[in-house]
């Protein structure tokens, strides 16, 4: 689960990390009230995606009136597919230095990596590319966490020895996100050093592992309802489907992530663009296919649907009957091409043909057919 900034900051604060004063606001009036209490505030869009500053989702407000106006503009705007449900009004900081501090999973090393740099801020990715040595790295042992001397070495390697005291403390506090919240990424950028020498989290990103949700029910209950994603993705999630919205016009259903991704590639190779990625997992039960079709057909951009099912031991005739039923139940009129393989494949194809559904011999042929039919 990707937490919003204010949620991530609440979690960091619970670990003892200092955050600026702030309040969430769902209306301009609430934003004005927050500004009256805090003073000069940054009004920040709360969306689980980066790049909101460049998208106009952060505005500085000197007065309550300015805060209300900013909130009025930002709430409801769309940033990279996410509608902004609320803003976070946060007290402005007296910034002396911006540091980068982050944890993530380094999948190539199959380990957690901790990174610290004196050159925090918006351009950290450019810093990483141009001067990788400016980022100090540590792979902590996952059983015992980083040891004191390791954290100290990291701080000195980053050239931040003058701040060794407060920084080693913040690093240890942030690390708690891994054992305690199953974080996949925990990042503070910038970690602000103020004019008075305090170390404060200027921004916060926290993504937790959905596979570990079974042991973190409190986080899910507290925060998951606030995030408003793409409407089709939200609907698909409710139905337990693995679904990602894309911007084309051909709905795609496949079983298995690799096959499904491969199908998107075939659609593009045939000259079309997929409207979504939808993995219905192994097997291909009739109700799951119907569920997936239903979500895909909610999207008015969809002009036709391609189903690519590799059965193996699944019976293709049963899958074919399920598809026919689902299509009838949903009163679907758009072109539908189904590529089926598995036991009783020929019988499956016959059933499809008899019901006016185009069968495809393989994924590539099926992709060409649906692109043709939706042209």
């Amino acid at each position: 689960m990707k937490l919003l900034e204010y949620q991530a900051k609440e979690v960091l604060q619970s670990f003892g990390i200092e955050i600026p004063p702030g309040k969430i606001a769902r209306t301009p009036e609430e934003a004005a009230a927050a500004a009256r209490e805090i003073g000069t505030v940054a009004v920040k869009a709360q969306v689980p995606v980066g790049g909101r500053g460049k998208a106009g989702g952060i505005k500085l407000a000197q007065t309550p009136e300015e805060a209300a106006a900013a909130a009025g503009q930002i709430i409801g705007m769309e940033i990279k597919g996410f509608r902004v449900p609320l803003v976070y009004c946060e007290g402005a900081l007296d910034i002396k230095q911006e540091i980068y501090l982050g944890f993530t999973v380094d999948r190539d090393a199959r380990a957690n990596i901790l990174m610290l740099s004196a050159r925090g801020g918006m351009d950290i990715e450019a810093v990483a590319e141009e001067t990788p040595d400016a980022i100090a790295r540590l792979y902590p042992n996952p059983w015992r966490g980083p040891l004191d001397f390791e954290v100290r070495r990291l701080v000195f390697e980053a050239g931040l020895g003058a701040l060794a005291g407060p920084l080693t403390k913040v690093v240890r506090q942030l690390y708690r996100a891994i054992p305690e919240q199953d974080a996949l990424t925990a990042e503070i950028n910038p970690l602000v050093v103020t004019g008075e020498g305090r170390v404060v989290a200027g921004d916060a990103k926290l993504e937790t592992d959905e596979n570990a949700a079974f042991r973190h029910k409190e986080l899910e209950e507290r925060y998951s309802t606030v995030i408003e994603g793409d409407q089709y993705e939200v609907e698909a999630k409710k139905r337990g489907l693995t679904y990602v919205s894309l911007d084309g016009h051909i709905g795609v259903i496949g079983n298995g992530a690799g096959l499904c991704m491969g199908t998107l590639d075939l659609v593009q190779r045939a000259g079309g663009r997929a409207a979504n990625f939808c993995d219905i997992g192994g097997g291909a039960k009739a109700e799951v296919v119907q569920n997936a079709l239903e979500v895909i057909l909610m999207n008015p951009q969809v002009k036709g649907v391609l189903i690519n099912v590799f059965g193996g031991i699944t019976r293709a005739d049963e899958v074919a009957r399920g598809v026919v039923e689902a299509r009838a139940a949903l009163n679907m009129k758009l072109p539908l091409v189904v590529r089926l393989s598995g036991t009783n494949e020929e019988e499956g194809k016959r059933i499809l043909r008899e019901n006016g559904i185009e069968p495809g011999d393989n994924g590539w042929e099926a992709a060409q057919k649906i692109v043709e039919l939706t042209r």
Binding site: K2, P48, V49, G50, K80, G81, Y100, G102, F103, T104, V105, D106, R107, D108, R110, A111, N112, I113, M115, I124, E125, A128, P142, W143, I178, P179, D182, L184, T185, E187, N189, K205, E207, D209, N211, A212, F214, R215, L246, N255, G256, A257, G258, L259, M261, G262, L264, D265, L266, V267, Q268, R269, F277, G282, F310, G312, I313, S341, N362, W364
Partner: protein
């Protein structure tokens, strides 16, 4: 053939569960030497005609097992892997999908003390040596024995490729699904290394996908190989994930994209197929 041979003695952890039972039976049907199962609390009984044990150590002592297939639910799977390693098994195949990543990171650290234990997966279809046996869920009827090694990150795409190979008369030496999770046991490079030293294998198909840089490293490993290799990369048109934070980009830079992977193979003279049917054309070219 690699990893699973006619002398491999296999147990299944979680054999009495629904998935464990179903797939253990399929494994038996194709001749896998299934010598026992582990199901804590049911030791002393039997299931599918093989003895049940409470612990992996007991199973190993009684049966001489050297390989295991793990079908236990996600919250317990990491511990099942560690138990298998500690009991001395040399091949641990974890089928379970949905294991927390931090659990797997701890498993990887733990396994450093057991250099003999090879972990395949998790979240993988397992492996099959056609005509010999399988551990996992790969359907045997689409396989046929032969000289093509196949290694893949995906499940259904692997089956698709196997079916295409079998239909074209190209049998397989061993088919290995390394799994789709970010933190895995055997990598592409590890499996490529095994195929390189397997005299039965003359051709290799490698099916990768976007993310990580295992494919890039395997491409480097394959420079000058004796094998005739064809690669396939899925996710070429997948959009960039809706990313938050910079940590991922700082770690991986430009590696991990489909373009980077395709170029890595082409740079060492390995052709990259655009459809599964093309895999056969390129293998025969």
């Amino acid at each position: 053939m690699i990893l699973l041979t006619p002398v491999s003695n296999v147990i299944v952890q979680g054999i009495t569960g629904r998935e464990g039972t179903f797939h253990a039976e399929r494994m038996q049907e194709m001749g896998t030497r299934l010598v026992g199962g582990v199901s804590p609390g049911k030791g002393g009984g039997d299931h599918l005609g093989v003895p049940l044990f409470n612990t992996v150590a007991e199973a190993v002592a009684a049966t001489g097992a050297d390989a295991t297939g793990i079908f236990v639910p996600p919250p317990f799977a990491a511990d099942a892997i560690r138990e298998a390693a500690e009991a001395g098994l040399s091949l641990i195949v974890c089928i379970t999908e949905g294991i927390p990543i931090q659990d797997m990171i701890r498993v990887k650290s733990y396994l450093k003390d057991f250099p003999r234990a090879r972990l395949l997966g998790p979240n993988c279809p397992g492996l099959i040596t056609p005509g010999v046996g399988k551990i996992g869920i790969i359907p045997a009827q689409i396989s046929s024995p032969g000289a093509v090694g196949l290694v893949s990150r995906s499940g259904t795409l692997t089956y698709e490729a196997m079916a295409v190979l079998t239909r074209a008369g190209l049998g397989q030496s061993t088919v290995v699904g390394i799994g789709g999770d970010p933190v895995l046991g055997l990598s592409f490079s590890d499996v490529v290394e095994l195929f390189e030293h397997d005299s039965q294998t003359t051709h290799l198909v490698l099916i990768g996908e976007i993310g990580g840089s295992d494919e890039e490293r395997a491409a480097q490993r394959l420079r000058g190989t004796r094998l005739k290799v064809v690669a396939f990369i899925s996710g070429r048109t997948a959009p960039e994930g809706k990313r938050m934070g910079h940590a991922g980009a700082i770690v991986s830079g430009n590696r991990g994209t489909a373009k980077s992977k395709v170029e890595a193979f082409q740079a060492v003279g390995i052709p990259v197929a655009e459809t599964t049917d093309q895999i056969v054309e390129l293998l025969k070219a």
